[in-house]
Symmetry: C2
Subunit: 305 residues, 2 copies
């Protein structure tokens, strides 16, 4: 089954302690697609400017990312410039130029409107709501958001929450949205406003999935070399929804596996600049990373300690 993603398609310029990349592929929809397409067909909706190096998206198209919903508009592409310091924990944004993205109005192509899985990347909640008007009863709708929308579009974001099955957000955003320091309470606050599933991402500290009364946790994989954290969250979402769409299994056991696939894909994202690592790996590497996760966290219970 395919997954529809609506989000940004950008050009990133990133500086880390390990090197620099200028004008490389970035944006939430790009990372999501590069990750999810390793597991299932992807339909991408976004906008780029006339300066976008479209041929660099060719490897994604060949792998099953349908770019029919990627509009190319007159003007500049969305550009982000950022820097990570030694600890790689948080990006310092040096420059954001929205370009054609500032006028983005997602138009879902007719052939995308029946997508069973939908990911509303981190864009204006009004646009996320607008996308939901254009699609037909997906099996699962997930959204992401960020501090900027929590602050500036709170009523729209709350309206969106009523209409999504799942939200992914990071710990700081969960605290900001709910005004709860405790993440268990924050997740409950959110679930009371709509989503049946809340995934709280903690970056290098892993991710929690809350659902009803249960909670599941998967760590970030302890890599020896973290090269560039950009896009890890969207790659997580791509792995998570890509796995659900691939299997079509919405059981709790499968949601847990999907979280692990999300963490696995996030761990690949940070091993290279941009989406480079996703262009090197295939099913073998993914299966191996998931097995590594299993070994990382699995312990046998003792029945009579």
């Amino acid at each position: 089954m395919s997954v529809l993603v609506v989000g940004s398609v950008a050009l990133d310029s990133v500086e880390t302690p390990f090197g620099k990349a200028e004008g490389v592929l970035g944006g939430s929809a790009t990372f999501f697609s590069a990750s999810a397409s390793l597991l299932t067909p992807v339909q991408l909706v976004g906008v780029v400017g006339s300066d976008y190096p479209m041929q660099q998206l060719e490897p994604l198209a060949q792998r099953g990312v349908d770019l029919a919903g990627l509009e190319q508009a007159d003007g500049e592409s969305f550009r982000w410039r950022g820097r990570y310091r030694h600890d790689l924990n948080s990006a310092e944004t040096l420059e954001t130029r929205l370009g054609v993205f500032s006028h983005f109005r997602p138009k879902i192509p007719a052939q995308f409107r029946c997508a069973p899985f939908v990911f509303l990347g981190n864009i204006d909640p009004r646009l996320q709501l607008d996308v939901l008007e254009q699609v037909e009863r997906p099996k699962l709708v997930a959204c992401d958001t960020m501090n900027f929308w929590i602050e500036s579009r709170r009523p729209d974001l709350l309206a969106l929450l009523e209409r999504v099955d799942l939200i992914t957000l990071n710990d700081a955003e969960a605290r900001q949205l709910t005004e709860e320091v405790n993440l268990v309470k924050a997740a409950r606050w959110i679930m009371q406003r709509g989503p049946r599933y809340v995934i709280i991402k903690k970056g290098e500290h892993g991710a929690f999935m809350f659902t009803g009364a249960s909670v599941f946790f998967a760590p970030a994989y302890p890599l020896e070399e973290v090269f560039d954290p950009t896009g890890a969250g969207d790659s997580f979402a791509g792995g998570f929804l890509g796995y659900l769409a691939r299997t079509g299994d919405l059981s709790e056991a499968n949601f847990k596996r999907a979280v692990v696939y999300g963490c696995a894909m996030g761990s690949f994202a940070v091993e290279r600049f941009s989406i480079a690592r996703f262009l090197e790996i295939g099913p073998m590497e993914i299966a191996q990373r998931v097995r590594d996760f299993h070994r990382l966290v699995t312990f046998e219970e003792d029945l009579d300690p």
Copy 2:
């Protein structure tokens, strides 16, 4: 099998967003003993002043903490006063009065010298080394340390590393000791200097155990109410070594379970001030918490995704 702990026995005054406690039981050996004694007999070596409320240790003694190595000296007990802000992440030390602890020279009673498991709590590495001169071929020696000793007693600490099987330290301390930001590299640095096992504690973000080429991770339990983080690390160590001593099984599978018991005991520690929670719980609550951990992290691998 019993476990010997050498460390501080203190009186803590703690302020959290949820309340205040004045002059309550604290110190590394106290938290360790309260935790470990729920699993196995404990032998405690430490020093208190003439002002110490010895009768408050009675519940621990009744539970199998042998206090024959707890010296009562003329003078004031070690007192620590600290405060946690809203996020409970880090303690702000308001006052430290070492009292009789500043002249502490551990004397291991003859009947303690054959303890198969030894925990060298966070004290001067010279004293930790001195303890090792007094004990007879333990099965497993573990130590803890802190930023102060890493800075002021580096050569002694490195000499200690050569003689311990395992070290527990937090992520900031691991980075400080090794000058490696990456925790995988930091752990390898430490293992190259002696310990076969390195446990890096990340507070609310869980704990890694590194051993040879393998790594195991257990999260901190996502509690709805974290009341007072004081002593969580020593309670972790108590659960970890207490479980190893109880089972006497030094297999890798059992070390993983021991990490989970450590995390379970750490999660109890933070639910009340001081050691109060350990005086309320028993085998049932511990087994339940370990089962909760299993549910929290366990996923079934898909053999054919």
